[in-house]
């Protein structure tokens, strides 16, 4: 990739916006450029970032998943309650695994409608999301649950690295490592495996994908199961970070994640998007939310600012795409 191409890329644009924001925030707030803030931002990125990986894969395949938050909450509350009540000493790995299996199964439930019966993903996942939420409140419980397994509490205090600074201890949480590992695995999947390329193929042209011998049904099942499993793991981590499980948490946060993914470059309709862009999108959204808090700006402005950034980001993407096509035509 030559320099011109890099400068024109969506990732570079996001990077430039982020850099600009950092400079502004840094000038306004002296605590912005500190290790503590860096670690805090990274930790805040964890949940959105991991969820974004699932959404990214779904969006590349040409679909959209609106049910991942419902899946995350379902996995969170089910695992927290069952294990909290019956096997409180279960190790974190088992809890995460159970959360992922629940998520995977719920993702497969989505994929039956989407891949097998060709229902539109938007409608399907809107529907399943409500079904899952309803089920959760009816059968698992509608009350906040505090006796979550001990391993979850321990996990929330598990730091990779602690540095003492003037502002107090800066902790790099182990969740950040999980986040990076999942992002790296997603990137490998998308770029280095046939399965990953087949997801781009389906997003580009489902009929052509079938014609060159990909099995669209299986690929789409994988896509939604992957998104589900990822959501399940986030559910477990969320309960651990909060040190309790509240079935009304997370719900409503779907759009923040989808916004982060969209900023990273995928087009509605599928076929485009990559992990780097998504990470930058997540960073941008997290920075806005975190820094506005730091600058003591009321939360309703956060929401407005996020919305504004999404629209501006999309406009910029479209503008630059048109521009580059014209430039090539003129050449």
């Amino acid at each position: 990739m030559n320099l011109r191409k890099i400068v024109k890329s969506n990732e570079f644009f996001l990077f430039a916006v982020i850099a600009l924001m950092c400079i502004v925030f840094g000038l306004v707030s002296p605590s912005f450029f500190t290790v503590k803030n860096l670690f805090d931002v990274l930790k805040s990125m964890t949940e959105t970032g991991i969820l974004a990986m699932g959404s990214l894969v779904v969006m590349i395949s040409g679909g959209i998943d609106l049910s991942f938050m419902a899946i995350a909450v379902f996995a969170m509350h089910t695992v927290s309650r069952l294990f909290g009540l019956y096997w409180n000493s279960a190790p974190m790995a088992v809890l995460l695994l159970c959360g992922m299996i629940i998520g995977l199964l719920l993702g497969l439930f989505n994929s039956i409608f989407i891949a097998k019966f060709n229902l539109p993903p938007f409608i399907t996942t809107l529907g399943t999301s409500n079904i899952i939420k309803g089920f959760l409140l009816a059968f698992i419980g509608s009350k906040q649950f505090n006796k979550i397994p001990a391993a979850m509490i321990a996990f929330s205090k598990n730091n990779l690295l602690t540095i003492s600074t003037d502002e107090g201890n800066a902790n790099l949480h182990i969740g950040v490592l999980i986040f990076f590992a999942i992002a790296a695995a997603t990137s490998l999947l998308l770029n280095k495996t046939m399965l990953g390329r087949s997801i781009y193929c389906i997003g580009g042209s489902p009929s052509s994908s079938e014609r060159i011998g990909f099995r669209n049904l299986r690929i789409l099942m994988f896509v939604y199961a992957f998104a589900g499993a990822i959501a399940g793991s986030v559910g477990i981590m969320h309960a651990s970070f909060q040190r309790m499980s509240n079935p009304f948490d997370l719900v409503g946060g779907e759009l923040n994640v989808i916004a982060a993914v969209v900023l990273g470059g995928p087009r509605v309709g599928g076929g485009y998007g990559n992990v780097t862009g998504t990470l930058l999108g997540v960073l941008l959204i997290t920075l806005i939310n975190n820094s506005l808090v730091m600058l003591k700006i009321p939360t309703f402005w956060q929401s407005a600012a996020t919305g504004l950034i999404i629209i501006l980001g999309t406009v910029a993407q479209m503008y630059r795409y048109k521009h580059s096509v014209n430039a090539e035509k003129g050449a």
Partner: protein
């Protein structure tokens, strides 16, 4: 009178047949798409599959490729019998299809598009960029074409996409290559390169099924020919027993005369209906001057990328240009499609699917779309009136459709093209521009479209036809202009030239690829 088919000659002794279809039957709702079709092809054999649009060719190809399942019948592939074959099985057995719509992935690079199906067959699980580039490079080398390997396919021209589709078919160990109209978007030079490749493939023992509407092509490449008509196989014979006229007859089931258009100038007409002086568009065409009279059909030809489409669009108000355009002696400024529309100019675009039709909307909606303002009573539309208007066009243009309320996507190419034509005729244009009006249209429909255009000219319309098909230009147009690199290089009356001479003019000095 039914002309007897020449007696089928016994096929020469040959090796085992690679693919045999026995009594394949397929219905879509009420349509009998394939009516007990049997067909076999052996190693090294080249078959041309012909038939009008809707005769069942595409369905047959999709049965061979495993995309469709036949309702009944048997498929014998390499001596093994199948009731139904999956696309993967077909590909693994060495069947490669080059689809008419290219079936490329617009979001992936040239290299990936070419190499992916190779990797699928080899059940690769991981991706190696170097290997992908090597496979793609090798396939393009076979074609003798260069394309930037890391260019995204959505940014290629139509011809570029077609090349990618062909290269993909060549990127693996292929035993049977099916090409569904592979030359529609290629330039003459690229077509010749493709013929050479087909010869090499034949020599390697690869069986080839070639679908085409271009009669010249059929004779230059295939040994045998099979013709489908209304889902039945009506002919399967050696090509040497036929000539163009007899093939046309078997395809359509009727004799089709080809009479050149005779231009009779309107008495006392002095000002041309259209006069263009020094029209230029940066990067597309330069200093174009010509005139067109009523009753006249003017042909414009030239290689892809010579500026002919841009010129046509400029006359229809698309693109920024400078120069003088006069309609019936009045200088006009055509800055938008609305301007063109108001001035009585109609334009039938090159790509009817993306530029000419609302595929999911009804025929009536399509045919009345350009004239809605005129058809409206105040702000209201009379649904019944629209349907009546549409029915009358279906009749006049002899469009085979169940009625004006079916979606446009249900029609075959030739009928779709007539819907686009009807849309503009409804606006009663004085000047009609047709860009490649018969691409992907079968012989029978093509002839009917030609007759419609000639009749319009006789009634006093001025018509410009842009086409690659020199045969079409010579029979349809009274005068021809050749464009090259954005300039007008030659004008000639078609009565004073021949198809061969014009083809030479078009391809002369053809070095360097254009339009990719």
């Amino acid at each position: 009178m039914e002309r007897p088919a020449p007696s089928a000659d016994p096929r020469p002794a040959r090796g085992s047949c690679f693919l045999e279809l026995r009594e394949i039957d397929k219905r879509f709702g009420g349509v009998h798409a394939l009516d007990h079709v049997s067909f076999s092809i052996c190693e090294g054999e080249t078959y041309c599959l012909m038939g009008e649009n809707g005769s069942g060719k595409s369905t047959l190809i999709k049965v061979i490729s495993g995309v469709y399942t036949a309702d009944s019948g048997e498929m014998i592939l390499n001596g093994k019998s199948y009731r139904h074959i999956t696309p993967t099985q077909a590909i693994e057995a060495g069947i490669q299809i080059i689809y008419q719509d290219f079936s490329v992935f617009p979001n992936l690079t040239v290299a990936e598009n070419i190499a992916l199906s190779n990797l699928v067959i080899r059940r690769k699980k991981t991706i190696d960029r170097k290997e992908i580039n090597a496979i793609a490079k090798a396939a393009l080398d076979k074609l003798g074409v260069e394309l930037p390997l890391d260019r995204e396919v959505s940014r290629l021209s139509v011809a570029g996409k077609q090349i990618v589709a062909i290269a993909r078919g060549l990127a693996q160990d292929v035993k049977l290559l099916v090409m569904d109209e592979p030359t529609t978007a290629l330039t003459h030079k690229e077509i010749l390169a493709l013929y050479r490749i087909i010869d090499t493939l034949k020599a390697k023992g690869i069986a080839i099924i070639f679908v085409s509407h271009k009669l010249e092509e059929v004779f230059s490449i295939s040994q045998r020919i099979a013709i489908l008509r209304n889902g039945k196989k009506v002919l399967d014979d050696s090509i040497s027993n036929f000539d163009k006229n007899s093939l046309t007859y078997h395809m359509t089931g009727r004799e089709i005369p080809s009479v050149p258009y005779e231009y009779i100038p309107a008495p006392h007409e002095t000002t041309p209906i259209l006069q263009v002086e020094g029209l230029s568009q940066p990067g597309a065409f330069h200093d174009i001057s010509f005139s067109l009279h009523t009753h006249e059909i003017l042909g414009i030809t030239g290689q892809l990328g010579c500026g002919r489409t841009e010129l046509a669009k400029a006359l229809f108000g698309i693109g920024k240009n400078h120069g003088r355009i006069c309609l019936s002696g009045q200088e006009v400024s055509i800055r938008s499609v609305q301007d063109a529309h108001r001035l009585g100019i109609g334009y039938v675009p090159e790509d009817r699917l993306s530029e000419g039709l609302f595929l999911q909307r009804s025929l009536a909606d399509n045919m009345t779309a350009a004239d809605v303002d005129e058809l409206a009573h105040g702000i209201l539309l009379d649904r019944k009136e629209l349907l009546d208007v549409s029915r009358s066009w279906l009749n006049q243009l002899d469009i085979a459709a169940q009625g004006p309320e079916i979606p446009a996507s249900n029609l075959s190419g030739g009928n779709q093209q007539r819907i686009v034509l009807a849309k503009w005729l409804q606006t009663k244009p004085k000047l009609l521009i047709l860009n490649c009006p018969t691409v992907g249209v079968d012989v029978g429909s093509k002839n009917q479209i030609h007759e419609i255009v000639k009749q319009l000219a006789r009634e006093g319309m001025g018509i410009i036809v842009i086409s690659d098909d020199i045969g079409e230009i010579v029979t349809l147009c009274s005068r021809v202009m050749i464009m090259k690199d954005g300039r007008l290089v030659k004008q000639v009356n078609s009565a004073d030239t021949t198809v061969e001479a014009l083809e030479r003019d078009v391809i002369s000095d053809d070095d360097g690829r254009e339009g990719v």
